[in-house]
Amino acid sequence: MPRPGYMVSEIYKNLLKKRATILYPFKERELVHLPKGFRGRIIFNRDKCIGCQMCFRVCPAQAIKIIEDEKGKRPIFFMYRCIYCGSCAEYCPVKAIELSDIFENIAFNKKDLLVR
C-alpha cells in the first residue's frame, strides 16, 4: 500500500543527527582517517637502494628516471606522472620504496613534485 511521504520520519530524525559532511580542509583535518595500506605519495630511502633499476622497468606510467649519484644508480620519481599503483614498492627487492598516506600532492611548481 503506497504511503505518500514514506521518508518523513527518517528525515526528521536526521535533523537531530550530526551532519555527514566534514569540514575538510579548513577545519577538522584530523577526522580524515586513512587506512594502513593507503597508496599515497612515494617515500624513498636512499640508503637501502642497490641500483637494480627494477622500479624503472615495472613503472606503467614511466614516472621513474634513473640517475647517477656518488653512491651509484638511483631513481627519481616524478609525482606528476605517477598513477599510485604501488608496483615499484612491490617489486623493490630491498623495500627502499614506500607509499605513505600523503594524498595532497599539488604544488605550484614542478620541482616540489619530485621525490629524490
Partner: protein, 397 residues
C-alpha cells in the same frame, strides 16, 4: 508540429558526453538517434604498446566504476593464454573485491536514478551510505575507486582478520540500509508513478537486440554469466539469479537492489569459507605467452563484459579487443525511447529510461569516420563492417 531536441553532449543529466537527437511533438517523443563517439580514447591501440603487466593498469582505467571487472577479465584472459591456474585463496579474494565493487556500483546507480527523477533526498542518503563501501575498498586495496587489486597470478594483498571484522560490520549496516531503500522505492507513490510502465522492453525484443545485464534480467530472462559460465569461485559460492518480469524501469531498480542483497550474502559466505594458502603465484615481470588467442567473459555490474586477446609470442599483445555491456544495451535503449502504438514516451521519461541501463559511456566510445576533404561523416553498418574485416583478413592458403 515536431522539432528536434538535442540531449547532450553537455547536459546536466549526462555524467559523460553522448548525443541523443530526439524528434518531439509537444511532450511526446517520436524518434531518437544516438551517437556515442565522443569518448573514444584509443585504448585498444594503447594495449598494443604496453607489455602484459603494464596493461593491467590500462585495463583498469577503461572505466572507473567497473575497474575490478576489467582487471579481472584481463588477468583471467592472460592466465588462460599462459595456461596457469591461480591458487584457491586468490579466487575467493578476487570474488570478495568483485562483489564489493558491484555493491558500490549499484548503490551509486540507485542514487543517480533517484536524482534523475528529482528525488534529491534519496540521492543524498544513498550516496552517504555508499561511503561505507568505499571505506572498505580503501582498507582492502589502498584506494577507493581505482583498486589495482588483481594481477597476473593472483591478487596483490591479503586480508587480515581485523580487515575481516571491519567487512562484516559494514556489511550488516549496508544490509539494513539497502532493505530500507528497497522499502522506500516500493512504497513511495511518486517514485512508483514515475517508474512503473515506463521504458518497457519486452522479452522477445530484449533477446533480439542483445541486451545484457540487469536490463535483460528485468525482462524476465534468467541469464547471468556467474551462473551460466562460472569463473573464479562462482561455482562454489551459492547465489540466486534475480529476475523480475514487469519489463519496466521499476523492475530494473528492484533487480539491482536485490542484487546488492545477494552480493552481501556472497561476501559473507566467502569470508566464512576462505581457504588458506598463498594468494599469489610469482610471475616474471616480462611475460611472454605462446602465440594464440583467448576470450574471457565476466559479469560486470552493468552486464556481460568480453575481452579478446591475440598474442604472437612477443611481450606485447598483437590485438586486444574489449566489448563493454553498455554498448550492447544501446540498441535496446533506442527501442525503449521511441513511441509506438499505445506505448507513449514523454520527454520527462528520457533521463530515467536512459539511466535505467546504467550507462557507463567511457567504456562505449566507438569510431565515426570523417572525411575532411569531402566534408562528410558516416558510420558503418554491421554488414559493411563484416564485409570489410573479412576482406582485410582474408587468408591466401
Amino acid at each position: 508540429m515536431s522539432f528536434y531536441i538535442p540531449i547532450g553532449p553537455q547536459h546536466p543529466v549526462h555524467p559523460e558526453p553522448l548525443l541523443m537527437k530526439f524528434k518531439v511533438e509537444g511532450e511526446q517523443v517520436i524518434d531518437v538517434e544516438i551517437n556515442v563517439s565522443y569518448t573514444h580514447r584509443g585504448i585498444e591501440k594503447g594495449f598494443e604498446y604496453r607489455d602484459y603487466m603494464k596493461g593491467i593498469f590500462l585495463a583498469e582505467r577503461i572505466c572507473g566504476i567497473c575497474n575490478a571487472a576489467h582487471t579481472l577479465c584481463y588477468t583471467q584472459n592472460i592466465e588462460q593464454l599462459l595456461g596457469k591456474e591461480i591458487p584457491p585463496r586468490a579466487k575467493y579474494l578476487r570474488l570478495i573485491v568483485e562483489e564489493l565493487s558491484r555493491i558500490h556500483s549499484h548503490l551509486l546507480w540507485l542514487g543517480l536514478a533517484a536524482h534523475q527523477i528529482g528525488f534529491e533526498t534519496l540521492f543524498m542518503y544513498v550516496w552517504r551510505d555508499r561511503e561505507k563501501v568505499l571505506d572498505l575498498l580503501e582498507t582492502i586495496t589502498g584506494n577507493r575507486v581505482v583498486t589495482a587489486y588483481n594481477t597476473i597470478g593472483g591478487v596483490r594483498r591479503d586480508i587480515t582478520p581485523e580487515i575481516e571484522q571491519k567487512i562484516r560490520k559494514s556489511l550488516d549496516y549496508l544490509e539494513e540500509r539497502t532493505k530500507y531503500f528497497k522499502k522506500v522505492v516500493m512504497e513511495e507513490p511518486t517514485v512508483l508513478v514515475r517508474t512503473q510502465n515506463v521504458g518497457i522492453l519486452k522479452p522477445r525484443e530484449a533477446i533480439e537486440l542483445f541486451a545484457v545485464g540487469p536490463v535483460l534480467r528485468a525482462s524476465g530472462i534468467k541469464h547471468d554469466i556467474r551462473a551460466d559460465d562460472p569463473y573464479i569461485a562462482h561455482d562454489e559460492v551459492p547465489f540466486n539469479v534475480v529476475t523480475y518480469d514487469t519489463c519496466d524501469v521499476y523492475a530494473r531498480i528492484l533487480v539491482r537492489v536485490d542484487e546488492i542483497l545477494e552480493c552481501i550474502n556472497m561476501v559473507r559466505y566467502s569470508l566464512d569459507h576462505l581457504p588458506s594458502g598463498e594468494y599469489r603465484i610469482r610471475m616474471p615481470v616480462i611475460v611472454r605467452p605462446p602465440p594464440g588467442e583467448s576470450v574471457s567473459r565476466v559479469e560486470a555490474p552493468r552486464g556481460e563484459l568480453l575481452h579478446y586477446v591475440r598474442s604472437d609470442g612477443s611481450d606485447k599483445p598483437y590485438r586486444y579487443k574489449v566489448r563493454t555491456p553498455t554498448l550492447a544495451n544501446i540498441p535496446s535503449t533506442a527501442r525503449m525511447l521511441t513511441s509506438r502504438g499505445d506505448y507513449i514516451v514523454y520527454i520527462a521519461d528520457i533521463p530515467i529510461i536512459f539511466g535505467s541501463i546504467d550507462p557507463c559511456l567511457c567504456c562505449t566510445g566507438r569510431v565515426m569516420f570523417i572525411d575532411i576533404e569531402k566534408s562528410k561523416s558516416w558510420v558503418w553498418t554491421y554488414n559493411e563492417l563484416v564485409r570489410y574485416s573479412l576482406k582485410r583478413f582474408e587468408r591466401h592458403d
